[in-house]
């Protein structure tokens, strides 16, 4: 009986120590804050676009390192507290483009000179700026993009918002970047 109790306590302790990552592994969902690494966190922007160098449509993004907010009371961190940001752009024809702030510290505003983002910091950027940096040899008309993006912070807690402006239609959209599971479709059971 004692052995069984000890085993139960040990098991519970392991569950607590390993955190919600265990739950994520069981359900095969990667939720915010439960990615398998302590040095990266990811969010999803489900629709972003830049048309005609941003003149007809453009997305403004704000990506924050929320570890240090508010000052001194941020999230506990077991990994990197500051780091760069990678954006993976997936367009409608299945092409992937990769952008890393540590290779482009001049793009957007709010980064440290080495392209990293400190706790409490926010990087703001327009998609048209990112595309101009990725394709410096192309004329603006050849770097249109519409699709979705994974935003990966190389630190423990990334969060973001994005704003789509369609000047031709006089319309705009504003969204929170979502934890991965929130942006994925939910399985439907009809019972048939």
């Amino acid at each position: 009986m004692k052995k069984a109790m000890r085993g139960l306590v040990l098991g519970l302790a392991l569950l607590v120590l390993s955190g919600t990552g265990v739950l994520a592994q069981d359900s095969e969902i990667t939720m915010f804050g439960t990615v398998s690494t302590t040095s990266e966190s990811a969010v999803l922007a489900t629709f972003i676009a830049s048309i005609d160098d941003g003149a007809l449509a453009n997305t403004s993004m704000s990506v924050s390192n929320i570890l240090g907010a508010p000052v001194g009371e941020g999230f506990p961190s077991g990994g990197d507290e500051s780091g760069g940001i990678s954006i993976y752009l997936f367009n409608s024809i299945g092409t992937t483009y990769k952008f890393h702030t540590t290779e482009n510290p001049d793009v957007g505003a709010g980064l440290n000179p080495d392209g990293t983002l400190s706790p409490g910091g926010t990087w703001t950027v327009q998609l048209s700026e990112i595309l101009a940096a990725l394709f410096p040899d192309r004329v603006p008309a050849d770097r249109d993009f519409a699709g979705y993006a994974w935003v990966i912070g190389h630190f423990d807690a990334v969060a973001g918002t994005y704003f789509n402006a369609f000047s031709l239609a006089g319309a705009s959209q504003s969204f929170l970047m979502e934890p991965s599971a929130g942006g994925m479709p939910v399985a439907v059971e009809t019972g048939q």
Binding site: E28, G121, T124, L134, P136, S167, M184, P185, A187, E189
Partner: protein, 263 residues
């Protein structure tokens, strides 16, 4: 009596002077043009050096504009604040404020339209961006990667934080593997950035050749001059690089299906 006269004069001198009539006329005609959606009417009031920024700017639909303040910075420069309501989707009218620099030129008063870059820098400074580059010549990235299955170019960024202009003299790369797209303007101004795109050459994309991809030893040499000084940067290069982050993204799965209903 003298004291009263002195006080009166001091009050008159300290009271804000009305703006020049020509300035008021120009400002009002400019805003009337914007409110009517008539960019051509507003155009003659725009400073000739900022015409491009004005033509590129997307004008919001607006109404109910009111000039709030003419602040005199000097006899040739006023800062004009205008309150207006901006139309947003859904019939929302958002109260907005514009502060614009009006400069007196030989042709009359003209409004200076800030470029997108100027606005971005202003926002950047407000949120704590280090506006100036580190005081050195920096070349990024440390390693060029061409990812497997991707047609994305690898890009060399040259960031010039030095007080003098730099010049891209040469980029050496093995043409069997890489194609270099040099920018038309090879100068890197002080405080500026210039980028060079590199693509995999057509021959290296062929499967047979790619199988013999020189994973070791492939490199790009960049030669930059700073006046008489010549600096050489050697950047190792990797073909068919694996991307662990992309692999991680590919492994993402939708939520699990709910348990089957009991029959």
């Amino acid at each position: 009596m003298e004291l009263l006269l002195g006080l009166y004069l001091a009050t008159v001198l300290q009271s804000p002077q009305p703006p020049p009539a020509e300035l008021r006329e120009a400002v009002e005609d400019y805003w009337e043009g914007l409110a009517r959606g008539d960019k051509a009417r507003a155009l003659p009031h725009v400073h000739p050096q900022t015409l491009k920024a004005f033509l590129k700017r997307n004008e919001p639909a607006l109404q109910e504009w009111t000039i709030e303040e003419y602040r005199k910075l000097d006899s040739h420069h006023y800062l004009v604040s205008t309150r207006f309501k901006r139309h947003l989707p859904g019939g929302v009218l958002a109260p907005s404020l514009a502060r614009e620099d009006w400069i007196h030129t030989e042709e009359g008063w003209r409004v200076r339209i800030p470029s997108l870059e100027e606005q971005r820098q202003k926002v950047g400074q407000a949120i704590g961006r280090n506006a100036s580059l580190p005081r050195r010549l920096q070349v990024l990235p440390e390693r060029l990667r061409f990812y497997r299955g991707s047609d994305q170019p690898a890009v060399i960024a040259i960031l010039n934080g030095l007080p003098q202009q730099a010049h891209i003299a040469e980029v050496e790369a093995d043409p069997r593997w890489l194609e270099v797209k040099l920018p038309e303007d090879r100068t890197v101004p002080s405080g500026g950035v210039r980028r060079i795109a590199l693509y995999r050459s057509a021959s290296s994309r062929q499967a047979e050749t790619a199988a013999k991809s020189p994973q070791e030893g492939l490199q790009v040499t960049l030669v930059v001059t700073l006046g008489q000084e010549v600096r050489r940067f050697v950047i190792p290069c990797q073909i068919d690089a694996e991307d662990p982050l992309l692999e991680w993204i590919r492994k993402q799965k939708p939520p699990p299906r709910p348990p089957p209903r009991p029959r």
